[in-house]
Amino acid sequence: MILSKLAGRPVLLAAGLVAALVLPWFVYPPVALDIVCWALFAAAVDLLLGFTGLLSFGHAAFWGGSAYATGLIALHSGLPFPVAVLGGAAFAAALAVPIGFLSVRLRGIYFAMVTLAFAQMVYFIANQWRDATGGENGLQGIPRELFGLDLSDPFFFYYAALPFILGGLFAAWRIVRSPFGRVLMSIRDNPNRARALGYGIDRYKLLAFVLSAALSGLAGGLFTVGHGFASLQGVYWTTSGQAVMMVVLGGIGTLWGGAIGAALIVELNDYLATAGFEETGIITGAIFIVVVLLFRRGVWGTARDLVAARASRARPAPDNEGTKVEASV
């Protein structure tokens, strides 16, 4: 019982907050920023995958689309970075409306393929519309300053960006805990029942899709300002895959698990890059396969189940083979 109380929210939330606050003291600051940006991106993807039962393989469109929008606003308007970043998130949300409208009517694997295809369309547009996006060169020299305050030092920019990341994570958490989130979960578990109860499930799914896109856009915008450039890499489909990979590694349907997945993957990629190993797909792909084959609950999900099992040792542990997505099919 004590353990299960320890696993309760306040302690863990405080631990997570402390970890986020001290991260750039222990990790190279640009990498720390990457971790928190990807953590928010992963949470946004999990909002759909884990809580609505929709695997989006096209969220690069929102992360990368917002990267361009944020970069363009910051470059051409001279407005401070928070405005640019929020503008990017709004752009991502607006982009998600038509894409979501067409996609949410499809289920499971169809949804994944169609979102992937739409994201690729965004990629091609970004690639060809050179006047606006810079094509292969991307957008460069995106300013990092706030009312004359120079934030080009990654260490300081990390703390300037952190409130937005935490705000985004809090929003995701509130969405999941809200009555709206409960409806999403009921759609995930049994769409027909949710419809029979009178919920317009496509409208709920679309709203979840747009919210998820806005949070992804927020993360992508902060990532872009932090690095000072936006590139085609951000809208490429491997970016979508990477976010899904972090969610699966951390644990689908756990929201916080994505942050752990993000930290592990970003650190791994950074380590491999410093070691001069460019073909990171060999390692990350292998990890992904192992997780999908043997470890489907992910790091966070497994840890949570272990704690829960210990707390209720008297009763046999529930058989949770597979994760919550399965309920969606």
């Binding site: 694997i109 169809y110 994944a112 992937l116 295809a117 690729q120």
Partner: protein
């Protein structure tokens, strides 16, 4: 203009071959194979390596590579895909995504990102006079072969006993099982066959397209759009949509070059608005 249409059909031949493999694998196993493009790439690299290191010519490669990849596909299905099959289809999608990353980066590590040269087989060098215009012989050959292969698969599926079983198991696996058909026995060879087709397309692509590790990853997204347009469960729809998309993109490229790459996705959006299950898909498949 007519020549553009012909270009489109040749491009569509690759879409059709890949979409056909994807469709039979999906129909039989319910698996969307993300690694399909990677196997296409392996097919092209396989023929390059066979020629470069062993002096094996194009015609033998056209035979050897699909067989080897087909066997690899059978092993893959037995060892991994099979285990994930009872779970949510998303897990196999994610599994094959990881596999695609590994295959692509393994080849990249071995050969770099530069394109490898592959000469046209001497018998198919030069061009043919098609009456209205002359056209490279090799491209005509590709088109003919892929039409032939798709046609042969069609005949096997509709006219033979094996085809009947596969179609039955594809469209109504539960009912087929209830009627005493051992669906599980056909799943593995069908998976291997789909992979072999992707490899076959790769060998065909080697002499006319750049052989590099990334050649499959961009193509596969377009092929996904193709099968969505055709209807994911429909073999006929996938092939027809493959050629149609090739044709539309080539003509689009001719008239509105700036739209060339996005046209197929615009087409997909339009089809989805009109028929969410694809042109030849069944609504219930959603």
């Amino acid at each position: 203009m007519l020549q553009q249409a012909f270009n489109g059909l040749v491009g569509g031949a690759f879409y059709a071959l890949l979409a056909l493999g994807l469709a039979v694998i999906f129909g039989m196993l319910g698996v969307v194979n993300f690694a399909h493009g990677a196997f296409y790439m392996l097919g092209a690299f396989g023929s390059f390596v066979l020629l470069d290191s062993f002096g094996v010519n194009f015609w033998l490669a056209l035979l050897i590579v699909p067989v080897v990849l087909g066997i690899a596909g059978v092993l893959l299905e037995r060892l991994f895909v099979h285990r994930l099959a009872p779970l949510d289809p998303l897990y196999n999608f994610l599994f094959t995504f990881g596999l695609a990353l590994i295959l692509q980066d393994l080849v990249k590590r071995g050969y770099g990102v530069q394109s490898q040269p592959y000469p046209r087989p001497s018998a198919l060098d030069g061009s043919i006079d098609l009456g209205l215009f002359t056209y490279p012989t090799y491209q005509v050959f590709v088109l003919a072969v892929s039409v032939l292969v798709c046609g042969a698969v069609w005949v096997v599926l509709t006219r033979t006993r094996v085809g009947m079983i596969v179609r039955a198991a594809t469209e109504r696996p539960e009912l087929s099982r209830a009627l005493g058909i051992d669906v599980a026995r056909w799943v593995t060879p069908v998976f291997g066959f789909g992979i072999a087709l992707a490899g076959f397309a790769g060998v065909l692509a080697a002499p006319m397209r750049a052989v590099n590790p990334l050649m499959g990853s961009d193509l596969i997204i377009t092929v996904f759009a193709v099968v969505v347009i055709g209807g994911l469960g429909s073999v006929f729809g996938s092939v027809a949509a493959g050629f149609a998309v090739g044709l539309v993109s080539a003509l689009g490229n001719y008239y509105v070059p700036s739209l060339s790459q996005t046209l197929v996705f615009i087409l997909m959006a339009a089809v989805l608005l009109w028929r969410p299950a694809g042109l030849f898909g069944r609504e219930e498949a959603l």
